[in-house]
């Protein structure tokens, strides 16, 4: 017969309570899997498991020519496809020391900023949705649609553009482009006030986001969390200011910085960045110089043997492209330093001892794009 023993409380075997957030979960926006260790509602540890959408883009680059690589970069961070293309184009142009026409530089800058606005709008939509405000989702998508329409008119595609080529653009912009962009800016300045009214000033939203997931400046630098997330912690890390490329030297804009480092700061940085992007576009849109939309490049591009690195500011942070060329038509090695992957690293540190609901808010405020993590 089994003897019944009254065990003291301490000797009871305790198991950690794990839950799998993802790969199919509404708040991970893709196939990210987070193994969360919980104690009641409190998050003790977060282990991200990547690789569910790994497509081997870096390896595929080794078999492709530089023009083909452009099309692969679209698929990394699909929300800032132009900016990804831009990075590779700048790398190739820099390596070959090709001067692209001023017109191309201007158009690229405008499109990058439009892309940044579209990305931030989608982020705002999904951020609101993650906090339970479902109406935000539709507001954000409605306004983002206008940008996609402008893209569609000029070059046919809405999400994965592949519009930039080494040496210029695929084709010239549509004659309507300037007018439509100006209309959009006017429209968006009105609508962004709605964004503030429905979410930014809401008492529940403030409660949910302030002092949640605080990331100090040191932590941001240690983990390399840059982009809007890092700037929310007061780290001045805008590539557009530090290592200017394209037309960013010619325009005046502020680097948005906040010092709190919490979810609210990261939110406000992005909201302010939408406004700054609109300022940049307004400075450029009337001054697009006349000229060619591309320079003549050789059909087969061969980079001189050597190592190259090019960085651009994507909507999520620094996108770095590192390329080793052995003089052939394909690179020997291509490496992308994608912002989402780096930013994911800090998720565990800043969400410990927070609630599950906070983990969702923090994850949303880092603005992770899963194909950008896995590549």
């Amino acid at each position: 017969m089994k003897e019944v023993v009254n065990l003291p409380v301490d000797s009871i075997e305790r198991e950690e309570y794990h839950i799998n957030m993802g790969p199919q979960h509404p708040s991970t926006h893709g196939v990210l899997r987070l193994v969360v260790t919980l104690q009641g509602e409190i998050v003790k540890k977060v282990q991200p498991h990547c690789g569910y959408i790994h497509r081997g883009i870096e390896k595929m680059c080794e078999k492709d020519t530089y023009q083909q690589i452009i099309h692969l970069t679209d698929r990394m961070d699909y929300l800032s496809a132009h900016i990804n293309n831009h990075a590779v184009c700048l790398l190739v142009e820099g390596a070959l020391q090709v001067e692209v026409p001023e017109r191309v530089v201007y158009i690229r800058t405008i499109l990058d900023e439009l892309n940044r606005i579209a990305s931030h709008q989608l982020w705002w939509s999904s951020f609101g949705m993650d906090l339970g405000g479902l109406t935000c989702f539709f507001y954000g998508l409605r306004d983002r649609e206008k940008i996609l329409d402008i893209f569609e008119e000029s070059f046919g595609s809405r999400l994965l553009h592949s519009y930039y080529l080494p040496g210029g653009l695929m084709q010239d912009i549509h004659p309507n482009f300037q007018n439509r962009v100006k209309e959009f800016i006017k429209y968006n300045r009105r609508k962004i006030k709605d964004y503030d009214r429905i979410l930014s000033g809401n008492i529940i939203f403030l409660e949910r986001s302030q002092d949640v997931g605080v990331m100090s400046k040191e932590l941001a630098i240690n983990y390399g969390v840059n982009g809007p997330s890092g700037r929310g912690s007061g780290w001045a890390c805008d590539i557009r200011k530090k290592y200017p490329y394209a037309a960013y030297e010619k325009v005046e804009f502020n680097e948005v910085l906040r010092t709190e480092g919490d979810t609210y700061a990261r939110y406000m940085v992005r909201m302010q960045e939408i406004r700054e992007s609109m300022n940049i576009i307004e400075q450029l849109i009337d001054n697009i110089p006349e000229g060619d939309f591309s320079v003549k490049m050789k059909p087969i591009i061969k980079l001189p043997a050597g190592e190259y690195y090019q960085r651009v500011e994507s909507a999520r942070g620094e996108l770095g492209v590192y390329c080793i060329s052995d003089g052939n038509k394909t690179p020997f090695r291509m490496k992308f330093r994608t912002p989402s992957f780096v930013n994911l690293g800090v998720l565990d540190t800043i969400s410990r001892e927070m609630k599950i609901a906070d983990l969702v808010a923090i994850g949303a405020s880092l603005d992770l794009v899963i194909p950008d993590i896995d590549r």
Binding site: S27, E41, I198, E207, R208, I356
Partner: protein, 362 residues
Amino acid sequence: MAFNIYDFTTFTQSIDKALYEWLPPFWALVVEMTIIGLVFLIFYAVVGLFLVYAERKVCAFMQNRVGPNRVGPYGVFQTIADFIKLLMKELVYIKNSDKLLFNIAPFIVIIASFMAIAAIPFAKGLHAIDFDIGIMYVVAVTSLGVVGVLLAGWSSNNKYSLIGAMRSGAQIISYELSVGLSLLTIIVLAGTMQFSQIVEMQSTGWFIFKGHIPAFIAFVIFLIASTAETNRGPFDLAEAESELTAGFHTEYSGIKFAFFFLAEYMNMFIVASIAATVFLGGWMPFHIYGWEGFNHIMDFIPPFVWYAGKTAFIIWMMMWFKWTFPRLRIDQLLTLEWKYLLPINLVNILIMALIVLMGWHF
């Protein structure tokens, strides 16, 4: 048999009398109960389906969408089509789940909301049972629903469901207090718990106006607390879809899911009915003292239209909350209740008692 849309008393009583004349008392009671049960079942289904449709339309308009517009004119048959689909769906059984509790849970939830309808006065003389402890009965019965939610979460063998159920338990037990206390404020003013008398007393003015500021505070608190009690946004932590996928009903499929879904809307209907009855005068028309012509016009509108209008207004308010506010966190939810609503409520009752004692109310 006199049928009068302003007063159903004679109509219902003549049916009752006729039944007792034709049949022995026991069978008369059985027939009566069957009729009432069937009427409520149909009513329940119709109101549930209508509310689902209404919510989809309201949220669609708030979100720059059109909402359902394909099945029938303006999509009115959309929810019926959805429920037929849910009826025909396979019921998925979960490995290692507690089969008995898993199957019982949706029924408990739906029975709890079904029972509460019995006590609600829809028009003069049109309610199933006129308890002398009507309010207490409704509060007691509606809070049974949490048992179903807890069982659903516990028996599903799913970690998300369990977290959702535990949240729901903490939430409903807390907010039950505020619901009870805010209704108690009005009971102090009315001096009765019987719904028919409460409505009757509001013929000279709705309690929200009669009871000065305390009644208004009680109304606001009731609205907040009852939104929380029905697990609706911004207090929908039990199913918080962006955190817990679907919370306690993650594992339910087909008609069992439909039960949870329907019960949520019926609970909303019930709390809106109680709010309308207790604070806004139920089926009583809106009267302004001294304006005889105006009062006559108001009297001309049938009572059940008044009742339905007030209920619809409160339901619309609850939908408005849900689609504009983000969700609270569990600790903030409990802080709101225990640190703010409960103390305010207790002071509010004292003030109301003082007002009643001094005879300061209208």
